[in-house]
Structures are given as structure tokens and as C-alpha cells.
Amino acid sequence: MRNDYIPYPARIVSARDETYDTKTFRLKFTEPSVAEDFNFKQGQFLEVSLLGRGEAPISICSSPLEREYFELNIRSVGSLTGAICRLKEGDILYVRGPYGNSFPFKEVKGRDLVFIAGGIGLAPLRGLIQMVLKNKKDFGNVSILYGAKSPEDLCFRDELEQWSEVEGTSVYQTVDRASDGWNGRVGLVTELYEAAGIEEGAGEMSNTTAFLCGPPVMIRFAARKLKACGFKPGNIYVTLERYMKCGIGKCGHCNIGGVFVCVDGPVFSWEHVEGFTEDF
């Protein structure tokens, strides 16, 4: 019988500093058969271990279309992620998964898409953005709205630049606090809505789908404002995070009301989240 709790070794192909506390690791399973069998969908996550230190759920930040490797964007916040962020190319992480449901992709073809991310919340959306931009002709206009605490906290800066150069794609950035050399916007991510054509009273946004990820308070405000700007809750997708220990709906930690974030999520439509009777 399959044991879902056993992780497999994956070697770090490259480790790139994203910000002062965040790194993007490119990984490949060391066993060819494991690498071959590894398939994931946009929006899914992995349980990532540093044996001896512990295990945590981390979303996959690369595109499922990329078969040679997968990428994880990890911020050093605790004992485990702190230790992971000290790893270098050639080091080994232990990985199991993928887990959870996924973002709609085929289902949103032909529509305009808005991605709204806060801080490291861009990571779970990045794989989907890469997929969409690789197949841009199948989609309408794409807007990427990205906010961070400071300019130093912005992740994937080179890529944001490249994405903005794709036809029919706009990238808007903002920070809570400016620092020297920042000429961009200062303010909340919701203050970028107007520039992206999302306005109250502008009528129903029936041909646009929004994807959100960020801190819980940002998700709440961003989703409510989208609703006020004519988005149906069913056209807003959020991906949630929660403390987790198993990834397969057993340990209980990620329960919100009657759902498990690990198996019923992490992607939820706002229609669903609105009905939650517990905070996330």
C-alpha cells in the first residue's frame, strides 16, 4: 500500500536570492522514476522537509508545463524555512506531494484575467501566470497587480518586467513604504484597481476572472472591493494557507469550518470563502 507520508529526495539545481529573506529554489527529484511520475497542476502545493528539522507545506511556484524541474519560493520566517534558506545548490530537500486542488485554466480561456498578489503571495500565482502568458493568444487582457511592504520585498522583479512586455499584459506595482530610489506607487494593492480598469460603478465585470493570494487581511479587502467593482464571487479565486501537518486531510490543522484547506483547497472561489464561519 502507498504510504503518503514518505518524502523523496530532490536536489537543489539552483538557489536564487529573490529578496533579503526570500529565495527561489529550483529542484529535481534525484530518483528518475520519481521525477518521471511527478505531475502537478497549477496551484497545488508540496510538503517540504529538511529531515531532522521538520516539514512544511509550500506552494509550487513554477509552471506545470515545465517538466525538467519545479520551483519553490521560500521566505525565511521560522526555524525550518530559516534552515532551508541557508541551503545551496547541490543540497537535498525531501519532498512529497503534490497536494490540493488547482486553479481553473481551460475553464477561463477567452476571458480577461486579473492577478492580485501581496508579498510572497505572488509565488502560488506565478505558475499559472507563466502558463497563461505562454498561451496568451487563448486569453484576453491580463493584468498583474502586485503589492509588497517595501521595494526590497518585491519578488520576481525580472520576471515582472518580462511579463509587462507581453502583448495585452499590464503589470502594476505598489509598496506600503517607499525607500530611496523607488519612483513607483505607494499604497495598498487595492489602490491599483483603477489603473487596471477595475472601478466601482463601471458595471458588471462578467468577462473577467480574478486570482488572489496574499496575507489574509489583504485577501479579504481585495475580494470585497472586487465584488464592489462588479465581480461575481464565483469569478474570484483565492488560494489560502494554513498550518498543516499531513496534506491529505487527516491531521486536522487546516480545518476551516467543515473544509480542509489541504484537500478541499487551497484554491477556493470567493463564493465559497464568503460562507466560511471561521477566520482563515
Binding site: Y5, G78, L80, D91, N255, E278
Partner: protein, 387 residues
């Protein structure tokens, strides 16, 4: 079919069964507590006489509740998920325990003498762990196991048992999902065999199980059932509580009542977790690594880098339960943890699994140092409901 088993045959039966099964039965220890013990560990000391004298079976003359629920047989309080040791190149060899840590060894487990409330709980934890992403460890330990129920004619904890309200006892009924129940009668037990697996079990054991008259036994069982239900004096409006819990806490009259009850529980609870550990259907766990190179405190020997991944029972009343590395904690407020405990059992599980996962065993009340429990909660929620 119905059979009759004489009490004097019990010890011999268990010893006979222990050839093929790992027999776990309720035994009373020198402190008076009743726990599920492996027959091998009991029989080593005193064979049949010791078994007979310490066995706590019989719903009328020796009606006793297991101190801790039987979930621990399949889901121990602490278990090793795997061990790892460095093999060079940054990689570790990972070794699964493969049942080596299971006191039952490779024999299937026979749980002999489980109360109906605990049996219902095992059905629930079994479904939870085995359906939709089978849990390897629960499945390994539960594989091939069987439960023989010892039904209650007299409630073991009259101040706390409310199985008749929760719909889980005191006796099993034909049509329920079970194999065999024992119902104490005279100097022995009526053996109610309710499934083909149960029939397979008793066949070949004619020396112990004597065929009983079908009609007469059915009639007598019905009599005992009525008596047993009458003996459960504690009655609560379980269904009424479930109805009230269905409503959103913000709405209507319950909107005023529930938050006040949760607040009081949150204020009085000492967050020891006893109710969760003693609950036969609580299944939350934590996972951590114990190693000789990262852990601050470890009993593992020094040498090559090695360690183990362990899972232990966890509980939603603990403040660290949902705290994330960033410090964000969606249930930081004790109120939310109190709410979670009751809403999970009485509000969400009825929606997700079709029935509440409170089985009315009463352990959360008897084990609580500050007198909080599901029973008290249900009583408070349904105050004013008509009888």
C-alpha cells in the same frame, strides 16, 4: 444467529483465540482502572485464573468503561512514521517501521469487549482514516481486525453516559453495522451474531458457543434492550442541539445564546486537552522530527546523522494548534478554540459525514478538571427546549 457463552468459558476462549489473533480485552488493573490490554501480557503472569479475575466484561454485573478510548489501538498517542539515517551525498536512508513497533506483531487484532459507544467511534475513525487518502499507519494497524461488542445493560458511568440520546447504545440493533455483540444474561452472555463475518468467526468454536433458540433469544434481547434504555437515566436533547447548531451563530436567538456559552467555556477551560485525548473520535495529530543533529533534547545516540519522524495526538484547544510560523494565528482567541471544539462535533461533522461524531461516552466530562463537557454543553444549548 444467536448463541450462548458461559462466563466460565471466557478465559479459555480468549486463550484459544490468542493463537490466531492478537486479543485485546478490558482488564482491571490494581488501581481499579479498566484498560485495553493485550492478552499475551496478561496471560504471561497468571494464565486462565488471572484472566478471569481481572477481565472486566459484562454489561450488567461488571459494566466498566475503558479509561482511554480504543482509538489508541489503531492510532497510538505517539508513533514513529519513519526513521532516517544519512547515507552520504546529503541523502538519507528512510526506513518505515513496518509494524515492528506494533505490540500485536503481525497478528490481526481482536478487540474483545468494546462498548457500543466506543464501537460507533471506531466505525467513524475507521472511515475517516481509511477512506479518501488512506492513512498508511492506521490502515496497517487496523488491517484484518475485528470487534466484539460488550453491550451495556447498566451504564458504566451513570453521571456521564448519554448513549441513548446520541443514538449509539446501550445495545446494538439488528440492521446496525456490526459482527458480534455480547449481552450479559444469567451466568454468561447472549451472543448476537449479526454478520456473515461473525458467523465465520464462531464456526469451529462450538465448544464455547452453544446455539440458542432464535425466537426466544430475540424476545429476551428486546426485553433487555428496553430495560437497558431505561437504565440510562441521563437524557439530553441531542437532536435538538444539532438543530440549533445548524443555524449560523450570528442569527436568531441562538446567536445570543451560543457566543455566551462559548465565552464561558473559553474562560473556564484550562486547555489541558484531556477532553480531546479521551474523546474516542478526536483524531488530530502533530508531526515533528527527533534527531541527533537538530533536536535540542534527544535520547538518540550520537554518531552518524540520524533521526525519526514522529506523530503525536494534538488538539484544537491548544493555542499553538493553528499558529503559523509568521505568528499569524486564526484561532488566537480562546473563544474561537472553544467554538471549534463544539462546532466540529455537532455542526460540521453532521454535514460532512451525515452524523455527529459525539458518541455520548461522557469521557470529556468525567476527565475534565473544571467540569466542562459535551453533555453540559448540550444541556446548556437546549435549555428551554421541550422534553
Amino acid at each position: 444467529m444467536y448463541y450462548y457463552l458461559r462466563r466460565e468459558k471466557l478465559a479459555g476462549l480468549l486463550l484459544h483465540l490468542s493463537k490466531e489473533w492478537s486479543v485485546l480485552a478490558p482488564f482491571r488493573n490494581s488501581y481499579g482502572d479498566v484498560t485495553l490490554e493485550n492478552l499475551d501480557s496478561v496471560a504471561e503472569n497468571g494464565r486462565a485464573e488471572e484472566i478471569a479475575s481481572r477481565l472486566a466484561l459484562g454489561g450488567r454485573t461488571d459494566s466498566a468503561q475503558l479509561l482511554s478510548p480504543p482509538k489508541e489501538v489503531f492510532f497510538p498517542q505517539s508513533e514513529i512514521l519513519f526513521q532516517f539515517s544519512e547515507k552520504g551525498n546529503g541523502e538519507f536512508a528512510i526506513e518505515q517501521p513496518e509494524g515492528k513497533d506494533d505490540p500485536s506483531g503481525n497478528k490481526p487484532k481482536l478487540l474483545f469487549g468494546i462498548k457500543p459507544c466506543d464501537y460507533h467511534a471506531l466505525l467513524m475513525t475507521g472511515r475517516f482514516f481509511l477512506e479518501d487518502n488512506t492513512d498508511f499507519y492506521y490502515s496497517t494497524r487496523a488491517n484484518g481486525s475485528m470487534v466484539i461488542i460488550d453491550s451495556c445493560i447498566v451504564p458504566p458511568e451513570p453521571e456521564a453516559c448519554f448513549c441513548s440520546s446520541a443514538g449509539t447504545g446501550p445495545l446494538m440493533k439488528r440492521g446496525d453495522e456490526y459482527d458480534i455483540q455480547l449481552v450479559e444474561e444469567g451466568n454468561g452472555f447472549i451472543v448476537d451474531v449479526a454478520s456473515s463475518r461473525g458467523e465465520d468467526f464462531v464456526s469451529g468454536l462450538e465448544n464455547f458457543f452453544k446455539i440458542a433458540d432464535e425466537k426466544e433469544t430475540a424476545r429476551r434481547l428486546e426485553e433487555i434492550r428496553k430495560e437497558a434504555v431505561g437504565n440510562v437515566e441521563l437524557k439530553v436533547d441531542f437532536k435538538g442541539a444539532l438543530e440549533i447548531m445548524k443555524e449560523s451563530p450570528e442569527e436568531g436567538e441562538t446567536g445570543e445564546r451560543l457566543p455566551a456559552i462559548y465565552r464561558e467555556i473559553a474562560d473556564r477551560c484550562i486547555y489541558c486537552g484531556a477532553c480531546l485525548y479521551l474523546c474516542p473520535t478526536c483524531t488530530c495529530f502533530n508531526v515533528y522530527d527527533n534527531s541527533n543533529f537538530c533536536s535540542v533534547l534527544t535520547l538518540l545516540e550520537e554518531g552518524e546523522r540520524a533521526g525519526e519522524r514522529v506523530r503525536v495526538w494534538d488538539g484544537c484547544v491548544f493555542s499553538g494548534y493553528s499558529r503559523e510560523a509568521s505568528g499569524h494565528n486564526p484561532r488566537d482567541d480562546a473563544y474561537k478554540r472553544a467554538e471549534r471544539r463544539y462546532e466540529h462535533k455537532l455542526r460540521y461533522d453532521p454535514v460532512v459525514y451525515g452524523r455527529s461524531t459525539c458518541v455520548g461516552c461522557g469521557r470529556c466530562l468525567t476527565g475534565c478538571p473544571v467540569d466542562i463537557g459535551m453533555l453540559k454543553f448540550i444541556e446548556e444549548v437546549t435549555v428551554g427546549n421541550e422534553e
